[in-house]
Symmetry: C2
Subunit: 223 residues, 2 copies
């Protein structure tokens, strides 16, 4: 059996939250977002090799959280880089085999189903990401204003983005490029196809105070 | 002063809700979604000419709601068509002057600010719609899989979509086209530019049971 590594990336400074505290440390349902996230992966499979990438300046705060909440989940702590790309690269340096799932720290409401289905798709296809259909109409800005996109063709991208480790490692050797907004874009740029698997609609990225309230609500209603 | 007409379109059968009851009649915060929506416009400006477009088969249920909740807000009731395009057309037949705002019945969390700002932009530019920035990465399906879109260029479209009545009337004379997913796409196809004004992130479209729970939560937290 192949080893599965999970890189949880918490790069954000929380500026969109209007909070001093980094968003991954904000509480919902009684504890920090990041703790929910790491617990979800551990509960899905305790054998995952969990790697947490944090800005070095947040290491102290994280250690305090671990003690305060008696978190005994085994994990490695890695220093983040200047961009998400570089943070993932730092986490990936600890991985040498099997498969790797890269997950946003601020998506605590991912389900075990989404994790397992996306990993399974990566076992088969080499690279897979969870997506959901868009419910809003979407426009794209253009030189003369904006144009509507065909909604039925749009997919909102979530995490964990899952890869054969050798594929992600090869892709991450490319020079950094502003187009690299997620791992899938890096891997696709390197020439590998990306399989789209089914995400879960609750798996929101918590980036605003409203998102935090919504996450709290989802937990309360669906747990 | 020009008259402002508001066409509230409730065409949906609620199939995505998994509910027998049409989604615009589902309750949140103690009353039907549609009642919240109509009250929001009335509270913003009691002089708006409110036009409600419903499938004819729902007229009875709406009358019962009005009686049950003692709703005395003046409004006209119009029979819906086979598509959203045709429903808007039926509502627009009652409008002959001024400006018109077309709103989804299932967006009860629009703010007065969004309504007023979008209308004001329509007064100036002829056609305006509220949008918000996308927080998720988005891909578009292509022949060979999917490609990432540049997130900073994407805007999620909301309602009310606001127009000089003469512009919307002229645009709606076009033959129906599957590309017409909202009024803005119809008006743009007729050659008029669309101004993008700022929506509000709470202004979600309630199309799933999860959306309903989230709407309930937003009301509770932010009212």
């Amino acid at each position: 059996m192949q080893k599965t590594h999970v890189i949880i990336v918490a790069g954000g400074s929380g500026s969109r939250m209007g909070a001093e505290i980094p968003k991954q440390f904000l509480h919902f349902a009684g504890k920090p977002i990041l703790l929910h996230t790491i617990e979800k992966f551990y509960a899905t499979n305790a054998a995952y090799n969990l790697i947490l990438v944090l800005p070095e300046s947040h290491f102290g705060a994280w250690e305090e959280i671990i003690q305060q909440f008696n978190c005994t989940i085994p994990h490695q702590l890695v220093k983040g880089g200047n961009t998400r790309f570089h943070s993932v690269k730092n986490g990936l340096a600890l991985v040498n085999d099997g498969f790797v799932a890269v997950h946003d720290a601020v998506r605590p409401l991912v389900t075990s189903n989404t994790i397992l289905n996306t990993l399974e798709a990566a076992f088969i296809h080499g690279a897979a990401i969870p997506v959901i259909e868009s419910t809003d109409s979407v426009r794209i800005l253009s030189d003369n204003g904006s144009v509507p996109l065909t909604r039925s063709l749009l997919r909102n991208v979530q995490t964990p983005q899952c890869f054969d480790t050798s594929i992600l490692k090869q892709a991450m050797q490319q020079e950094f490029n502003q187009e690299f907004t997620d791992c899938a874009s890096v891997v696709q740029k390197a020439g590998f196809p990306i399989f789209l698997s089914e995400g879960n609609i609750e798996n929101i990225k918590i980036t605003t105070p409203l998102d935090l309230k919504i996450a709290e609500c989802i937990r309360t209603q669906f747990d």
